[in-house]
């Protein structure tokens, strides 16, 4: 096992270098200019943008810029944002807690909904409960988040006037009030994301449980007189959830990347909205850092998922 992990880690190094080359060149070749606003302002002479380009090293040839970026990264220097002239790692760390909170809660909500609903649907397939759950799940993952987000705003903010639709990271209150305000403004984004993810996950859990529930060992368990609850809880769900664990592990990196669309709609200052703002402003160091960290996480969680799988399912070995 340790040998397997080591081999995988070593393989991922060239993979990540390859990814970084692709990301870097795509961003360098993409149209757009971080000093666009300056170029159209008659009061700013063109020399200012030219000097900034030189100062920020944008005039050097692409390979030189790539090597400079990579060596700086090896020293732990992520560069600085062209827009705020602040170090990129600080900028990301500032946004990370909000993304973790909103997306983490959304995933917890998704799991809390998907597990019981999925299992119950599979235990009584084609029952009324299953029909309703399946219909809702289909609606849930067919509706894109930008639509449900706007719908929620329309209903809960505009018609009912219950919830605010603009997320503020900076609430000047302390104690319980602070907590309550945060919870109140997080309800809509968390619900939008959680219901969407939950819907997909419900289908997944249902299929997985259905596959296991038909197996012979389940019949054996029933035949030997185990109660239904025990059969399902101990024998079916435990095995059925192995693939679900993998899926959840593979989804983890997206918690870091934030939810671009939802964050934009509710103005949640997470990584997703940072990414979209950086792309729109051609703030390449920020875009590069976020996409690269995301790639690292995807590679890492793939490895983790594989390892967990082997650990949960003894039939699989990585000798």
């Amino acid at each position: 096992m340790p040998k397997y992990v080591l081999r995988r880690v070593l393989i991922s190094i060239p993979v990540l270098v390859g990814i970084s080359i692709v990301l870097f060149s795509v961003l360098a070749l993409a149209p757009g200019d971080p000093f666009e606003e300056l170029a159209t302002n008659a009061n700013v002479p063109p020399e200012v943008a030219q000097r900034l380009r030189a100062q920020f090293g944008l005039d050097d040839p692409l390979p030189v810029r790539y090597v400079r970026w990579l060596t700086a990264l090896a020293r732990g220097d992520w560069g600085f944002s062209f827009q705020s002239r602040m170090n990129v790692d600080q900028l990301i760390l500032q946004r990370l807690p909000v993304s973790l909170f909103v997306l983490g809660s959304a995933y917890l909500l998704a799991l809390a909904l998907a597990l019981p609903i999925g299992i119950l649907s599979a235990v009584r397939p084609y029952s009324i409960f299953d029909q309703i759950a399946t219909t809702l799940a289909f609606i849930g993952f067919s509706l894109p988040t930008f639509f449900t987000g706007l719908l929620f705003i329309l209903v809960f903010s505009i018609w009912l006037d219950w919830l605010p639709f603009i997320y503020r990271a900076d609430i000047d209150a302390t104690g319980w009030r602070w907590l309550a305000e945060h919870a109140r403004q997080a309800i809509m984004p968390v619900a939008v994301l959680g219901l969407f993810e939950g819907a997909t996950l419900t289908r997944f859990v249902r299929t997985s449980v259905l596959e296991v529930i038909r197996l012979d060992y389940v019949n054996t368990a029933r035949a030997k007189g185990l109660s239904e609850a025990r059969t399902i809880g101990k024998h079916v769900v435990r095995n059925a959830l192995i693939p679900v664990v993998t899926v959840v592990a593979l989804q983890c990196p997206t918690i870091f990347a934030g939810a671009v669309v939802t964050e934009q709609i509710f103005r949640v200052p997470g990584i997703g909205s940072l990414l979209i703002a950086a792309i729109l402003a051609s703030d390449t160091p920020v875009v590069l850092a976020i996409t690269f960290v995301y790639s690292v996480l995807v590679v890492a969680f793939n490895l983790i998922a594989d390892v967990i799988y082997g650990w949960l399912d003894p039939r699989i070995s990585y000798a």
Binding site: F35, I158, D170
Partner: protein, 600 residues
């Protein structure tokens, strides 16, 4: 009534034989606005009768609670000298102050200055080279240090240093030196006489920086200043917390240099999102008090306004949506560049054709259908401040007249109804603009009318981030202008048109030699225009100078170098109970933030 007569009237007001009221009434009778007539008196040295009435005079500082501002573009740094766009200038305005600001009519309002320099108080020298500023004595930086002449001198050194790469450099680089007369008086000496002296230390380009905090960060080191994100200023509000790209929070400055101001205790400025929902948050739900720059189709705004929580305020600016006519040939390559100044546009060299084209632009429909009250149809390129607006131009939309003109000029119609050039080629024009729903609708209106005139127009739209980019390698930018026609909005950021009008100078032609960084994409060259522009730079008589700019505008419009379409306003969404904003198209929306208040 001509210039001399007006002068005579002003003289009579000055020596008391004519009352101010009579003068202003007479000027209004001539179609001028009252503020402009007042401005004429002020520039002639006749003092204002009384200061502007302020609706609300508080007896103590603070007590106003929380003010919530919503900017749909989020500020990314809080140093006005590095601002990329108004969002940064606005977010630093509660903290930093200039020596003087511009009110809605373009008048000067002293902020950190004790008074505005004039010829009468000796602030402006007769040779037009020296400006003497007397500064407020009771202003302090938020960290307790006094504000002095040294800070003003430092701000000039900082912004004028090319290595700092400040976006405000043009305001400061022509100052030769600034002498420190005493702790609270400075004397700025320009290299050459300068009529447009009210640029340095004014408005969004004039934020004074604290010398004691920035002196180590001048020049190439400027990026590293911690104060770029945590500013310490003299303004009515102190920064508490700033998250670049998201939000800023400010609290009241208990030692602000204006007594009993400001009113609000805390300001929260939230950034990001989209314009429509920002309008909604102010107009319909009242979650926020003020939202900036509501570039939303006006019938949407009108519907949201029925929410009853807020209203839309339109601020006059000089911004102009206009169509440009390429004066060079974009379809022939000379020395490795298309649209070279060595070529002439194959069709647009004919003034008759250009005039016909101007007749085919339906400005009324564009104004009514697309911009509504957020803009108005105009025939002028230079529309504001009012003293610079030409009254000699007119615009009309008459298809028959355009057809007559084209027939007379010899552009016969071909078998498919499309006109032919004199050597028998079908006339087809490429019309480009940035991707934006209003602009695409606008393009379609022009195309339709041109079809009636027998001119085929092909439409092209380029993503805004490419169209407005300064990338010399990308041929789709507005400054390359590899098309026959193009349309966009030129913003006027200062109440003085000197910089605004540089986009028709022959020295500013955008071409390969300057990596297309020149300001003149139409590549129109006209000696008379250049002479007028240069003369205006050193003309100290405000009336003569206004006349020069009006002449420049007329040259551009009558030669149909551009077809002005819509004179745009800057709409803001404002809570019904908010007052004292005095929104000015020449300054930041927050220039008057110390005087904002909420009615009970």
């Amino acid at each position: 009534m001509d210039e001399h007569e007006v002068r005579e009237w002003i003289r009579r007001v000055k020596n008391g034989t004519l009352s101010r009221r009579h003068f202003i009434e007479a000027m209004m009778g001539l179609g001028l606005t009252a503020p402009m007539a007042t401005q004429m008196l002020v520039s002639a040295g006749v003092a204002r009768a009384q200061p502007k009435p302020v609706g609300f005079t508080p007896t103590r500082r603070g007590g106003g609670g929380r003010l919530r501002l919503l900017w749909w573009q989020a500020p990314t740094l809080l140093n006005g000298h590095f601002a990329t766009g108004t969002k940064d200038q606005d977010a630093s305005r509660p903290v930093y102050e200039p020596l003087a600001a511009f009110d809605p009519d373009g008048n000067f309002v002293p902020i950190l200055a004790a008074e505005i320099p004039t010829h009468q108080n000796g602030g402006l020298s007769r040779d037009g080279k020296t400006v003497t500023w007397r500064l407020k004595k009771d202003a302090r930086w938020h960290d307790g240090k006094p504000f002095t002449a040294d800070d003003v001198i430092f701000t000039w050194e900082y912004a004028a240093d090319p290595a700092t790469a400040a976006v405000t450099v043009t305001a400061y680089r022509d100052i030769e030196r600034i002498d420190r007369v005493d702790d609270h008086t400075v004397k700025a000496v320009f290299k050459e006489p300068r009529a447009f002296w009210y640029d340095a230390f004014f408005g969004v380009r004039g934020y004074i920086l604290p010398r004691h905090l920035f002196s180590a960060y001048k020049g190439a080191n400027s990026r590293n200043a911690p104060q770029n994100l945590k500013p310490i200023g003299t303004g009515p509000y102190k920064l508490v917390d700033f998250k670049p790209g998201d939000s800023a929070r400010y609290e009241i400055n208990p030692n602000y240099h204006v007594p009993n101001r400001p009113f609000f205790d805390v300001i929260e400025l939230k950034g990001g999102g989209d314009t429509t929902s920002a309008a909604r948050a102010v107009l319909q739900t009242g979650e926020f008090d003020f939202a900036w720059n509501m570039q939303v189709e006006w019938d949407v705004l009108r519907r949201l306004e029925q929410g009853g929580k807020g209203k839309v305020l339109n601020t006059t600016t000089g911004n102009i949506e206009h169509v440009q006519l390429n004066q060079t040939d974009p379809w022939t390559e000379v020395d490795g560049e298309r649209a070279s100044v060595k070529t002439k546009h194959p069709i647009f060299h004919d003034l008759k054709f250009r005039q016909a084209l101007a007749l085919l632009v339906d400005r009324a429909t564009v104004a009514e259908e697309l911009y509504g009250p957020t803009g108005q149809a105009t025939g002028n390129f230079l529309n504001a401040p009012a003293r610079f607006r030409s009254r000699n131009t007119k615009w009309e939309f008459i298809v028959d007249k355009a057809n007559r003109l084209l027939d007379e000029a010899g552009y016969r119609r071909g078998p498919d109804g499309v006109r032919l050039t004199k050597d028998g080629k079908r006339i087809k024009l490429l019309f480009q603009t940035s991707t934006n729903s209003l602009r695409q609708k606008n393009q379609a209106i022009v195309k339709q009318a041109c079809a009636k005139g027998g001119i085929e127009v092909e439409l092209k739209s380029v993503t805004a981030s490419v169209f407005f980019s300064s990338d010399p390698a990308n041929a789709d930018t507005y400054s390359h202008f590899y098309a026959d026609l193009q349309m966009y909005n030129t913003t006027m950021t200062s109440p003085d048109p000197q910089w605004f009008m540089n986009q028709f100078l022959s020295t500013e032609v955008a071409q390969k030699a300057n990596k297309w960084a020149g300001r003149n994409p139409t590549r129109w060259r006209n000696e008379e225009y250049d002479k007028l522009w240069n003369a205006a730079e050193v003309e100290f008589d405000p009336l003569k100078r206004a006349a020069q700019f009006i002449q420049m505008n007329d040259l551009v419009v009558n030669n149909v170098v551009v077809i002005p379409e819509n004179w745009r306003n800057r709409p803001a969404a404002v809570n019904l109970k908010l007052g004292g904003m005095e929104l000015s198209g020449w300054d930041s929306d927050l220039w008057h933030i110390a005087y904002w208040h909420r009615e009970a």
